[in-house]
Amino acid sequence: MVATTSHQAPGSHAVRRQPSPRPKPSLGRRLKQLNWIGGGFSWIWLLVVMLPLYWIVITSFKTQDSYFISNPLAPPTSLTFENYKTVLEQHFVQYFLNSVIVTVGAIVPAVTISFMAAFAIVRGAGSRVLKTINGVFLMGLAIPLQAVIIPVYLMVIKLQLYDTLLAIILPSIAFAIPLSVLVLSNFIRDVPKELFESMRMDGATEWGTMWRLAFPLTRPALVTVTIYNALGIWNGFLLPLILTQNPDRRTMPLALVNFQGQFGVNFPAIAASVTLTTIPLVLLYAIGRRQLLSGLTAGFGK
């Protein structure tokens, strides 16, 4: 999903706080006329996008009996929360916590060390070591997680981490690094040199400059990188599938697949489990839509 395809190289405009200055009205009108076909199409595609989402939400509030006799697209005649109760009784809270632990446990170190590396790469430009390190990260953008999962599995076994949440966290950190460094270093590069210079005049160390100057100035990019990686790790499926076994270690996507097997044709319960696992992300989306979307495309379309 997201994590597998959008390792893109962002430019300095990685974070667009506003959807960029509006095109001039003449272009706007032009494009609008140009695209009435596109307009109709957009609405159709919106319908296509919304239909499954709508269906899953209304179904989650139906009883199993009423689901089989009612029109699947009609809203439920009487709301029931029975399905949510069923899902919550299946250790849902445990799985939720696992996902939180994995995501936070991977994101915080990943973004921190990526930021440090990005700072070093920008400030130490000219150093051959740093140039090489940067080159390795760039190459790393092209390594798909799927391709290295077998050695990662072996390593996890040798480290005696199999079936722990840490086993999921460590590779997640590693695979978050290349893109994060790229986005962050592009952003830090835009900080005026004079600011660094004046910090040095004031006797600040590089370490102090990093946290007191670069860190606050890079905040938009840090948020972008955090959200982008959080999405990928939260929705991650392959690592938990391969590196854990114990049901107590399941993260949400894995738990979901298990619910599906367990509930069989109890579609309302399946719908409730899908809804519950998706709610945190939709909330995140509602809060930080702009940051999120700019994070997803981080700098393309130029």
Partner: protein
């Protein structure tokens, strides 16, 4: 970007800095580098090594020369997965690209409902492939799904039980999730096209359709390459979606490369041949992105990174 230069192992120990005080910050890059080296570079080199060994899920590795490669390459399953992967790649590209361009061009314009549309448009990007697969699986269920409930016979097919239909469903779901993403890319690119080009062409009397084909499309060339690279290279790694939706079936009809690797290694316990497939996966991905980059004719490495 993805040149297969040997990973940076033979770095001189002493950091020579030509400008400024690079040495004093070098150590700050080390935590990230070591982490990525350990769980990114070592496994990448490791998978190549492992493809020349035989071992099982317990993990006793025995070097065995070309045995695993022979087993992987003579397995008819490999040809099938390559074909399935290619099919998914080509068909999903053919469907997603025109739709994304059309929607992107449209959403770039000022338009009253655009904000409203945009809010809902991108929700699929937030949802895990597992959740999406489960939803569509339920929705398309021949006995209890949408078709049966609405009594529309055309919708009431054994969607995931027939090879062609299953591939079609897969491509539809991929598009459902990713068209918004590519639309976003095109939308940004269209906004960058200078207004003056349209004005000039208008003076020359070009119609809207003409403008679309003579200005918009050529101006989007690099974006099309970027977006296509992402689609093509990304489709090599579809795993969760297929795993949950069809498990590779019916038969082997949707058994794409990444899934074939998983089945061989973690289900049939043939880790050596599975590693060989992983190597093929990396090579195919690299050559495809290099090919597309060549096609684009621009050395802008940052635009063509696919993963």
């Amino acid at each position: 970007m993805t040149t297969l230069a040997p990973p940076a192992v033979r770095v001189p120990e002493t950091s020579r800095t030509t400008g400024g005080r690079g040495g004093s910050v070098t150590w700050m890059a080390l935590p990230a580098f070591l982490m990525f080296f350990a769980f990114g570079i070592i496994p990448l080199v490791g998978v190549l090594f492992l493809s020349f060994t035989t071992f099982d899920i317990i993990g006793t590795v025995v070097p065995s020369g070309l045995t695993s490669w022979k087993a992987a390459l003579t397995d008819p399953g490999l040809m099938n997965s390559l074909w399935v992967t290619f099919l998914i790649m080509a068909l999903s590209w053919l469907f997603q690209t025109p739709v994304s361009i059309l929607l992107g061009v449209f959403l770039a314009a000022r338009f009253r409902y655009r904000g409203f549309l945009a809010v809902f448009f991108f929700i699929p990007l937030m949802i895990s492939a597992a959740a999406i697969s489960i939803t569509f699986k339920a929705l398309l269920d021949p006995s209890f799904g949408l078709g049966n409930g609405l009594h529309i016979d055309a919708l009431n097919q054994d969607w995931l039980g027939k090879s062609n239909l299953a591939i079609g469903v897969l491509i539809f779901i991929v598009s459902w999730q990713w068209i918004p993403f590519h639309t976003l890319i095109y939308q940004g690119a269209v906004r960058q096209i200078p207004t003056s080009m349209y004005e000039a062409s208008q003076i020359d009397g070009a119609g809207r359709l003409r403008q679309f084909f003579s200005i918009t499309l050529p101006q989007l060339k690099y974006t099309i390459i970027t977006s296509s690279t992402l689609m093509v290279v990304g489709s090599l790694t579809f795993f969760d979606l297929i795993y949950v939706l069809t498990g590779g079936g019916p038969g082997d009809a949707t058994n794409a490369l990444a899934l074939q690797m998983y089945r061989l290694g973690f289900q049939s316990n043939l880790m050596g041949p599975a590693s060989a497939i992983a190597v093929i996966l990396v090579l195919v991905g690299l050559s495809l992105s290099l090919l597309l980059r060549r096609l684009g004719g621009r050395a802008d490495e940052s635009q063509l990174e696919g993963a």
